[in-house]
């Protein structure tokens, strides 16, 4: 396999990019080192998905977005996601790589919460970012794409919640590309100190159905002792976008990380969502829905690694496959030696709407400790023709009956998602995708 990424971007380009953004030297150095590593590191090898001929090279890296605008000047599609300006709370909108809108409530500022875009964060909170950025959660040298990410990261968000601070209203980020070609190199870093809590919701959108581009996204989430992070995401990139997205969490003692992910891209996607349950009594919950359509290929990993005693993980994945789409769903609960009394549960269900689609559900339990509980369930099935007959016998058209069955199939996940905004956004996108 030769994926040629060597390289539109050389040392000069990366140095210049970094210095223009007035980044601290540690980051400039990290970028250059990562660039070098990217040339020798292999591509990731997602289980059962061949990515040899996926586009990871064709994209524009220069940021084309350039100005902040008033709320009412944002595109309507974006305003709809945010809701009413006065009720929206803290919001960050990044359009084509640059901040288009940013507001943080006074309450958050008073409490010492930081919520800002990535570029600003490295300038203004460099030391804090440095402590966490690609060190303990995602490593630069995992493979070529993580290294490229570090070398080329251009945008994203930084959230910092001090000790004992509870952020009641969800903070929202919207990453939106509508120039057709700008790649998304987004880094989201969420750091919560002990006994704090925050809910973060992100929406990814793009309009490049025709033109090829690349999204290379890394999120790192740190839940301090007794802290709680709820992370909601709706990925909805257009067909032209090839996506690598890695959302990883680390939970300290009694820390909780809850993921609610709507994986609804239209392009080829590799998604890895891993949580390290480091502390005793730590907890993670991953609820994901996904729909594959057209000829897209996707590979999803939901992974929980238990190190702490009494740690718990719950993975619930429901996927719907249409047309000639192909998706692999890997659910992995790994319980390390010493993580006694831990519990890992997972369920993966796939509904096939077409004979030509492919959906694999692979639940995997890897257990190196005797004193634990774990369980898994997986199924791949088609729409039951008798169910369809029943609904149609009440006058409901075949299309509508299928729509109801699909909604019904996804409802156990969508219904459980703790965030109303994510829920309604999901329902809306699902509606569009299953049509």
């Amino acid at each position: 396999m030769s994926v040629d990424t060597s390289f539109k971007f050389d040392k000069d380009y990366v140095s210049k990019f970094s210095s223009e953004r007035q980044e601290p030297s540690w980051l400039a150095e990290l970028r250059l080192q990562a660039l070098e590593q990217a040339q020798s590191l292999p591509m990731p090898k997602p289980e059962k998905t061949k990515i040899d001929n996926w586009n990871f090279t064709e994209f524009k890296h220069e940021v084309s977005g350039n100005k902040q605008v008033a709320f009412h000047e944002l595109p309507e599609a974006i305003r709809e996601l945010i809701g009413k300006e006065e009720e929206a709370g803290s919001v960050l909108v990044i359009r084509n790589g640059a901040v288009a809108y940013h507001s943080v409530t006074e309450e958050l500022k008073d409490k010492g919460v930081i919520f800002t875009d990535f570029a600003t964060a490295v300038r203004e909170h460099g030391d804090l970012v440095r402590n966490y950025f690609m060190k303990d959660a995602v490593h630069v040298d995992e493979h070529r794409l993580t290294a490229l990410h570090a070398a080329l990261v251009s945008s994203g968000a930084f959230v910092y919640v001090p000790k004992n601070v509870e952020v009641d209203i969800p903070i929202q980020a919207i990453y939106f590309n509508d120039d057709g070609e700008t790649g998304i190199f987004n880094h989201v870093l969420i750091v919560t100190e002990d006994n704090s809590s925050v809910t973060y919701v992100e929406n990814y959108l793009s309009t490049n159905d025709e033109s090829p581009s690349v999204a290379n996204i890394v999120s790192e989430v740190f839940a301090g002792a007794g802290a709680k992070v709820i992370y909601g995401a709706v990925d909805n990139f257009a067909k032209g976008m090839t996506t690598y997205v890695n959302r990883r969490g680390r939970a300290a003692r009694d820390g909780r990380i809850e993921w609610a992910l709507g994986q609804l891209n239209d392009g080829n996607t590799i998604s890895d969502n891993t949580t390290h349950l480091v502390g005793d009594g730590s907890y993670t919950d991953k609820k994901t829905v996904s729909i594959g359509r057209g000829d897209q290929k996707q590979n999803f990993v939901a992974h929980a690694i238990h190190y702490g005693k009494h740690s718990e993980s719950y993975i619930l994945t429901h996927g719907v496959m249409k047309d000639t789409a192909s998706s692999i769903f890997n659910g992995i609960a790994k319980i390390e030696h010493g993580a006694t009394k831990s519990n890992g549960e997972q369920t993966e269900r796939v509904l096939m709407l077409s004979e030509k689609a492919r959906g694999d559900a692979n639940p995997i339990l890897l257990i190196d400790e005797d004193d634990v509980t774990a369980g898994h369930a997986a199924s791949v099935g088609t729409i039951d023709p008798i169910q369809l007959f029943y609904l149609m016998s009440r006058g409901i058209s075949k299309t509508e009956a299928e729509r109801l069955i699909i909604h019904g199939f996804l409802a156990p996940v969508v219904g459980e998602i703790p965030l109303e905004s994510v829920k309604s956004r999901l329902i809306e996108v699902i509606e569009r995708k299953v049509k």
Partner: protein, 261 residues
């Protein structure tokens, strides 16, 4: 509005290439209630499923007309929209869709776009009909038939019947597995529907449902055909004497078709 009419001529139905209905004819009009009786395995449920368009049953011959239109040419949902209804013996369970949402989708499917039933009116109607059927209001918000007991499913079928107000309904063994109180409630629901604009075909083994829903005509099915028709007195005689006298009269030894054992 013309009187509803369902007319079947020399119908043949097969499942997995095995013929079950072997030339069956009958006609029902609005305002009439017919009962189709017969022992197990004589093709009663096949008849009802085939008329509704069940995917597993293949009509291999004959004709069926619903209000003069070729029923067999219609898709399942078109049959329902035309006003045919089948209360099923074993209704499907559909997870994730509430009973109320399902019913509202079904009602709106029959209406023009822009003329959907208002939520208030829908709730009012639903409450009223659930009260007749003595169903707890929580059933509206439970997933469609999921985890319902046999009796609850049957009541739910009648609730759909009442909400959708079809022109001709086929009730396929709606009485099986019901205790006498539930039977009375189900019968009450069906009787509320009685009008010149509503015809009903009741398929049953037993006469007891017919004590509560008086049929105008009774047909006996054997070997995939209607072998005898009469008035309500026929049902009473069957209840008292069983089916043997008919078999004797007609010289039938084995009344079933497609029996497995």
């Amino acid at each position: 509005m013309s009187t509803p009419n369902l007319k079947i001529e020399d119908l043949h139905v097969a499942i997995d290439d095995k013929e079950i209905i072997k030339g069956l004819s009958f006609e029902i009009n609005g305002g009439e209630i017919h009962a189709v009786m017969g022992p197990n395995g004589t093709g009663k449920s096949t008849l009802s499923a085939a008329l509704m368009g069940h995917p597993k049953y293949e009509v291999t011959g004959g004709k069926a007309f619903f209000n003069g239109e070729d029923l067999l040419e219609m898709d399942v949902d078109e049959r329902a929209k035309a006003g045919l209804f089948l209360a099923m013996q074993y209704p499907s369970e559909v997870s994730g869709i509430t009973n109320a949402d399902f019913l509202r989708s079904a009602i709106n499917a029959k209406r023009e776009e822009g003329d959907e039933i208002s939520l208030m009116k829908f709730i009012r109607e639903l409450d009223k009909k659930m009260e007749v059927l003595e169903m707890d209001s929580s059933f509206a918000h439970r997933y469609l038939n999921e985890g319902f007991s046999g009796g609850e499913k049957k009541r739910n079928e009648i609730l759909q019947l009442m909400m959708l107000e079809p022109k001709i309904a086929i009730l396929d063994e709606i009485d099986s597995g019901l205790d006498i109180d539930a039977l009375k409630i189900v019968a009450k629901g069906v009787n509320e529907m009685r009008s010149p604009d509503f015809g009903c075909l009741i398929i049953t083994h037993y006469q007891r449902l017919l004590n509560y829903i008086k049929p105008d005509k009774v047909h006996v099915m054997m070997q995939g055909r209607i072998v005898k028709s009469g008035g309500p007195e026929l049902a009473e005689r069957l209840e008292a004497e069983g089916y043997d006298w008919i078999k004797e009269e007609l010289g039938i030894e084995d009344e079933t078709v497609g029996q497995e054992a």
